[in-house]
Amino acid sequence: MQFFFEVLIGGLLSGIMYSLVALGFVLIYKASGVFNFAQGAMVYLAALSVVGCMEKGAPLWLALILAFAVMTLFGIATEKFVLRKLVNQPPIALFMATIGLAFFVEGLAPMVFGSDPRALDLGIVDEPIESILESAGMVISKFDLVAAGVAAVLVTSLALFFQYTRIGRALRAVADDHQAALSIGIPLQHIWAIVWGVAGFVALVAGMLWGARNGVQFALTFTALKALPVLILGGFTSVPGAIVGGLIIGASEKLAEIYIPPVMQSLFGGNFGGIEGWFPYVLALLFLLVRPEGLFGERHIDRV
């Protein structure tokens, strides 16, 4: 039982990192209706620019600032050169364009910042928290806890940003109704640029945490892909959905990885590890059959 909780908590904590990536998707989707497949590539780009700048001798704080500048520029360029040119295209065309964008970034970023896997040291050690180990006998990583804390702070500040700043309110207005947003007096294009900037920032945070945990490498983009099933669970437009979805995916994939293979092995023989690789997607697929609008989405009937 103790082991179960250990796995569960570990899963929940790593799930928070999925939530972080998913959050970037939700922000862009809410504000511009674009399903940004390149969010994973953005996480990779952000992490690479940090280690890239540090390799050139920049201290961590400077590297972070530079990386943020890179992400903002990237967001603005994407808006200006790609999305703006596709405004009247069907959503599916925009989606495919972001797949192209993802490839573009995945080719460009390693060319600029180098492609070999590198470690990223944020100064937080990945070791069990001793007090918990002693009192409950469970291994809970210090790093995971810090990561979860960072994610919580980020989510809270984003919520405050949306609630209390003029730009934040405009962003929410765009999500509801483009016309209404115009009446607030902020040009739509600025709003989109800002959203991409914010999404870039979220990608940066996610990239830091993922990169510090697993190393900065191309595989990051696959991990980030798992934000997609998170979104299906949580609903594409819901920030709380992204959080809860991330927790569910994180916990369930870890539990599945521990508990399913032995069962399969006793049935078929052989080794059935690596369930983590597909479990979130299949879970999302099954979930779609039951509740296509997601946990927090609203059912909607096409208007004709």
Partner: protein, 358 residues
Amino acid sequence: MLYREAGQFKTSYAADQQLFPIRQDRIGVLLLLAAAFLAVPGMASEYWFSAILIPFLIFALAALGLNILTGYAGQLSLGSAAFMAVGAYAAYNFQLRVEGIPILVSFALAGLTAAGVGVLFGLPSLRIKGFYLAVATLAAQFFIVWCLTKFPWLSNNSSSGVISAQKVEILGHIFESPREKYLLVLTVVVLMALAARNLVRTSTGRAWMAVRDMDVAASVIGIRLMPTKLLAFAVSSFYCGVAGALYAFCYLGSVEPDGFSLEMSFKILFMIIIGGVGSILGSFLGAAFILLLPIFLDVGLPWLAELFHLPFSTATVSHIQTLVFGALIMFFLIVEPHGLARLWQIAKEKLRLWPFPH
């Protein structure tokens, strides 16, 4: 005035509903087929057959499959490679486990197996659209490849799921040389392309396109959405499945599950975006483009680097390749969403006037 449809008045609806209603198209296609079946086998080298022509035809077939689903029926899939894997492994197992089964029957059954799996993963399309569906098809991509790696029975207990395709024997003749395999693949692909053309110009195709363009209106007209979408998944996966079988039996000879990667699925998607979404010709053009581009880059980039005295590594080539693919996808979606097939059409319209500009 080379390409002129004016003056070709159709005197019956039958004439207007031929496979290729315009005479020049008919002649062009016949010439192309004659070249592919008669001229090419005499001229091409072994390298051309096994490194360019055979993979081109096989990927064109897979792209055609995806185009049926995405281009005609409007259902986006990111799992085409996985359905190819199903085809490859199914054909292998039919050959392995059914005594004396003809290879072509195995291929057909492989297609049907893929179709069945395709329908299974197409079920969510009944309730969701667009990129939701794309995510659901990722499940197929990862799950199928995992199953093929992990269930030893599927690869006859080989390590990490590698299989070696059996001999291709038809009516006592063994297809061994690249030229023979090319002719076999060509025949299969041409027949299936004609069948696809028939499908999309009759009411099956109209039902798919109706669902793609406006699903509510389609159902109001009397199209049942569920069977229509699932049929698109089945037919599309059938095409991918046969392509996968050919990929294993006539191209690589031995394949492993990880070869049918997400990357390959994306490649097939890129083929239809660049070639032309909703165009059979486009599937072929796109496959040629996506397969040839890396070859050009492989040759051209080192040459360019040398010309400008730039440092150069093979890793850079692969990065540039990825970057160029991405850039091209965005470029085509922005500038010519109907892809190369549309450019070809525009060229034909120009030819219609040539040599008189007005």
